[in-house]
Symmetry: C2
Subunit: 256 residues, 2 copies
């Protein structure tokens, strides 16, 4: 059975998509069958893997709103062991369109049953909010990976996210655990980065991954070529840090 890892944080621009795309690609490079589900109407993970969301006929929109099987909308990527469930801008209407649907928070969890045993990992990229789409991801997930940008505003939102996790665990998904907190865009020349990292490690101790993702311009260039780091510039420090993260997760030894 595939392990479902949701990548979520309501704070915007903290590296959710960059983490989802590069972790999924790194797991695929380790020959672990991986599905990347793009649950953000911005469809950044979709274009980050070179797919054109407006050109594809179907997306996770049909899965959530028309109960189409997930296996019917997935597409191949440039990596052998990586498959994509693309997003589409229509998803932006899902929150309102599903307001009276029965058990609207479990739509994704039910849709995953169709594909869960075909992949070793299923990575879900979330939009920057704690609305219905992110709730669906937290309900379907085995674990939550929280990208934490090493900046002040990013620390502020963490408590609210962890409260939401407790609510979801109580009402919708008792098995939900924290996979880990990932420090992103770490700039070793910048005091603020060190302060946020120290604060995160003192509050959350072993829940913080040993792997730290540095600020690295090659990571932000790769999406404009529709490629994950390992296909754009495998030597770059950014790409190597995501390969290291994949190893840490595969070893499962990271968290006490």
């Amino acid at each position: 059975m595939g392990k479902v890892i949701a990548i979520a944080n309501q704070k915007g621009g903290v590296g959710k998509t960059t983490t989802a795309v590069n972790l999924a690609a790194s797991l695929a490079a380790a020959e672990q069958g991986t599905l990347l589900v793009d649950l953000d109407p911005q469809a950044n993970a979709t274009s980050g893997l070179g797919a054109d969301s407006s050109a594809l006929g179907q997306s996770v929109y049909q899965v959530l709103l028309d109960q189409k099987p997930m296996s019917g909308i997935v597409v191949d990527t440039a990596l052998d062991f990586l498959t994509l469930a693309p997003s589409h801008v229509d998803l932006v209407g899902a929150e309102i369109e599903l307001v009276s649907a029965l058990s609207r928070e479990t739509l994704l969890a039910r849709a995953m049953e169709d594909v869960k045993d075909r992949y070793r990992f299923i990575i879900v990229d979330c939009p920057p909010s704690l609305g219905l789409l992110t709730l669906n991801a937290l309900t379907a997930a085995d674990t939550l990976l929280i990208p934490l940008q090493c900046e002040y505003y990013a620390m502020e939102g963490l408590e609210r996210l962890l409260n939401t996790v407790k609510l979801v665990r109580g009402a919708l998904n008792p098995k939900l655990e924290i996979e880990g907190i990932l420090l992103t865009m770490f700039d070793s020349r910048n005091n603020l980065s060190h302060q946020v990292a120290a604060e995160a490690r003192s509050h959350f101790a072993s829940k913080v991954f040993k792997t730290v993702i540095p600020r690295n311009v090659r990571l932000s260039e790769a999406p404009s070529h529709g490629k994950p780091g390992i296909l754009y510039d495998i030597q770059s420090v950014g790409t190597q840090s995501y390969l290291q993260l994949a190893r840490e997760i595969l070893n499962g030894a990271n968290l006490g």
Copy 2:
């Protein structure tokens, strides 16, 4: 009558809050009576000005959901000519709580009538989505200022935002204009920054502000002290670029 400028972009982490806080503070420094309305449940603009959203009794939540007058919830800040309408995490429920309210997109516009003639400028910070809160801001606004981070994913979302502006102009707010597109976190050593800036200027020509906000660590440190740039480090390049932006807007000459 005060000019209402909404600061919006559904892409996360592009500098909406940093722009709202520092532009409002720079206008206040020019002795223009300014109100900053924090419409984001993350309440980053509230804490960026040193206020504690959970300690304040009231927020824009009461204005939108209980029709409380805006003048009844505003608080003073450390700057003479700057007043804040604080946010609160309760706002996160507004989208669902208001789904059957009459004319739910015009709640903010109606609430602004109460304060519009007391301020020269009203700046509205928005969450990273095009949901009901941002629609309220676009409906209440005279103009929209779009922070555009000089990165690939940020360019992708621009077309959708401009489509939403056309829809709002057609259905809710015929006077809505674009104040301008502001290039943020520009890093002159980085090719990507130059590429995005060149593309934005070729697509949107005179709609792009002459002022460009550089990536500047002092801007990201200031919120941890609850201060805008002009009170944290007035000499910094970041602070000076927002003072320049305020001058450009006050001159009104920026956009052809």
